[in-house]
Amino acid sequence: MKKRKSKPGKLKDAQGEATRFGKRALAGFLLIALCLSGLAARFWFLQVTRHAEFAARSNSNRISVRSIPPTRGLIYDRNGVLLAENVAAFRLEVVPEQVQDMTTMLAALGHVIALSDDDIERFAALRKSKRAFDSIPLRLKLSEDEIARFSTQRWRFPGVDVVPYLTRAYPRGADFAHVIGYVGRIDAADATTLDADLYAGTTQIGKTGIERSYESELHGRPGYEQVEVNVDKRVIGKPISRVAPTPGKNLYLSIDARLQRAAQDALAGRPGAVVAIDPRNGEVLALASAPSFDPNLFVNGIAHADYAALLNNADKPLLNRAIAGGFTPGSTVKPYLGLGGLELGLRKPQDTVLSTGEFFIPGQSRGYRDDVRGGQGLVNLRQAIARSVNTYFYSLALDMGIDRFSAWMANFGFGKPTGIDLPGEAAGVLPSKAWKRGRFNQPFYPGETVIAGIGQGYWVITPVQLANALATLADGGVRRVPHLLHALQDGLNAPRVAVSQAKPAPNFIRNPANWDAVRQGMIDVVNDPSGTAHGLGDGFPFVIAGKTGTAERFSRTGEEWTNIATSAISRHEVLFEAFTPADAPRVAVVVALKEGRSGAYDAAPIARRILDAWLKDDGGSDTP
């Protein structure tokens, strides 16, 4: 075939081939030009028609917005004493991709700087959620010693660095643990409720106390930084633009740090609480719960062992007894009930009741005992309060009936949270038909009404509730919402702006003379030789009015009323409430202890120490 085609004689048409080639080359060139024009059209389509879209996508590829967390606001007491601050601290950070063998490195590092199992566990957990080139905290709050030791050996640990950061610190430690609370790491539960934009970059959030209730004021607004990132989201070069964060507001509390210190001091770790309120405005001057704990432990993540110790402590240091501790009020409710007898027209101040040592409901054989065997004879309201005569209040409660009783007592705020600006407040129990129906689905028996009259039975109060009731009484019947926040401040040099408080409830005492009669009884408690806490006001420049309470911690399922004289000391909850000056009250204090001999013996002296501290500090002045 080859041979046949190229046999001689049949000459190839060289000229024709060249011409044909020329045509084909031209056709080929035109085809190519057409194709390249098509390609150019495609470029036109991408670079002109769809340019805006791709430019935007290119920018969203390369620009990443990083938030800059704001500085948390500071917390001060009413006199400007710093209670919560941000301190510069140093932490150890590790960039995993720069470490060759993590296990060996951590073991070696552990000889230089103490690393607990908690630290290593937390580090391992964080590592999973971060990228290899991210710097991950390993140990927080290094001591100066540790920093010095690490600095000399730093060359041994590539990828490990000491980095400064701001951390929350509570200089007053345990004194304010139950008021300020503490911040902690944002956990999964917080994350679901948070505004992610606001908290981008923030690692800590108020967990309890003021830190939690005023989280939004304290936190501030984050700033933003536009940075250029590569495909791995690693930041390249300097920020493109920056919006500075707005720091959180500084808080000024109505608390007086010295009063608070005195309260914690006086409690001396005995399980109990102290609440002091200015009855004129509802400002909380002291709010102490014992035993307390060091809130600084929680800030950078509490160690398992420390947390277990707090949880397993039988005295429950984590429980804020001032607002969530339930106490049986005992005789401390008597002044409120006595005032009710007068206001509702059931008694006149001079009306007397015969105390025989035992009180009987007509037609029933069970006796309800007085504190004093054989009774205290004929007593009027003033004497009944001063000497804490049960019979007077048994009969008054019975005459009043449970419905009027609960309605009247509700005026003072019993049975409901006071609304103080702290999270976790308990409601307590004000005995009532409705409450018992709801709780036990049973009717209210007269015997229960009788013991409710001396603050026993179903009664449960919290110290802040009793303190607010006392402040309401002291201010002549005006109930306010107790509060800790006094003023806000935008930055260190800005003026303090007082926060407006909720409007007080209208005065519910119709006859000031009635209130005066009750007050006289409370003055006698402290100042009359027959008073249950007489001698307490000795040497105090103002007249103190008060009332003791010694409650049985008996089972509420029975109606049996056992004599306190035969009870073990530890079976009493003891309380004392006092306000001063008696004629124009400026402070109302409640002391409640889980265990004690009697209100007068254990609780009253604590109240006196607080009043002494108040006197030194604030007693002379009228305004904070």
Binding site: G28, L36, L39, F43, F54, S58, R62
Partner: protein, 370 residues
């Protein structure tokens, strides 16, 4: 005589000599410079990489000058042996090849070397050699023989697997037949048959090649997986706009969103930084080179030279089209470099060698004694 002056005299003579086509040479040098400047930016100012590429250009340039001095007659006489030799190397690669991902490389001890690059030159030579002796335009029987000559190396390359090179090899052979004057009706019948055989091709493809084809048809279906390359490349091109972001200002490549930004996707970097204006200028330069090559072919002395020069020139266009189509999402992802711009040694060297052959054909053109 001073060796430097000696070299200078030689260079002057080499450039003045009519064997080198100055417009083509100028266009190639311009293209190589554009390539180096683009690579310097795409590699994020990596001088070593640019120097490497410049060395390859130098090597290719030397090869170009050497081949320009080999008369086409000599080449023609050697053609069957060169073809068979390159085929043998392909078989050797199939048996002992090494390389990442695909077995394309033959290690010759000193240099590693891709025999498929050699075939890009020897195959059009072989087709030209074969058709040179036939009666043209070719008929079915001739076509059948040509198909076998193309098919043998193409199949060996395709199963390496290197679809891109196989495509270029096939294209250079097909262009030779086209330029030989294959009747249009035969062309349409062949095109129809090829369309009918397309599903068969699918059957022979590797899974990764099928994935690329699927991604090409719908890149947004898997924006973080296989479609990523296409999408990021389109973003790079589109965000360049008319005037471009400026040299070394292309964020898509600098921040590594663009994959393979010094090799297969370097055109996207160029488009991002120089915009539509730069793209059109570059495409015009390519078109000029192809056109100049075809002019040289048209003026060639004999059929062998014509067909060889023509198919080398038209195959050059295929590189540009396939690469440009890929980075703009017009064609599926096939590993074809942008000629003389993409980083990579063998393709630059073999391309310049091809232009050396063109220069030689130019030197021995019609109406020239020689």
């Amino acid at each position: 005589m001073n060796p430097f002056l000696h070299l200078r005299a030689w260079l002057r003579r080499a450039l003045r000599e009519p064997r080198l086509d100055l417009p083509l040479l100028g266009a190639l040098i311009a293209l190589a410079l554009i390539g180096l400047i683009t690579l310097y930016s795409a590699s994020d100012l990596d001088r070593r990489l640019v120097l490497n590429q410049a060395l390859r250009f130098a090597l290719g340039g030397v090869l170009l000058l050497l081949l320009a001095r080999v008369p086409p007659n000599v080449l023609r006489n050697w053609t069957p042996w060169l073809y068979l030799g390159s085929l043998a190397l392909l078989v050797a690669v199939a048996l002992h090849g090494q390389g990442r991902g695909a077995d394309r490389w033959l290690n010759l001890g000193v240099v590693r070397f891709q025999p498929s690059e050699l075939v890009k030159l020897t195959l059009p030579m072989m087709i030209a050699w074969y058709l040179h002796a036939r009666e043209l335009p070719p008929r079915w029987l001739t076509l059948g023989a040509v198909a076998m000559l193309i098919g043998a190396p193409a199949l060996l390359i395709a199963r390496q697997p290197d679809l891109g090179t196989a495509l270029l090899v096939v294209a250079s052979g097909v262009f030779a037949v086209f330029l030989a004057g294959l009747a249009w009706w035969r062309i349409f019948i062949l095109l129809g048959a090829a369309a009918g055989a397309a599903p068969l091709l699918w059957h022979f493809m590797h899974e990764y090649q099928r994935d690329r084809l699927r991604m090409f048809l719908n890149p947004e279906a898997d924006p973080l997986g296989n479609g990523w390359h296409i999408i990021q490349s389109e973003i790079a091109v589109g965000s360049g706009g008319i005037t471009g972001k400026g040299w070394h200002q292309g964020t898509q490549s600098r921040l590594e969103f663009l994959p393979e930004h010094t090799t297969d996707f370097v055109f996207a970097v160029f488009s991002e930084e120089w915009g539509l204006i730069g793209v059109i200028a570059l495409l015009a330069l390519y078109l000029f080179i192809v056109g100049r090559g075809l002019v040289i072919a048209a003026n060639a002395r004999d059929t062998y030279s014509r067909l060889l020069a023509g198919s080398i020139s038209m195959a050059f266009f295929v590189y540009v089209m396939v690469n440009g189509g890929m980075i703009t999402g017009l064609l599926p992802v096939v590993g074809v470099p942008l000629p003389l711009v993409s980083y990579g040694g063998t393709s630059a060297v073999s391309l310049l060698a091809g232009f050396g052959v063109l220069m030689s054909i130019h030197a021995h053109r019609k109406f020239m004694s020689g």
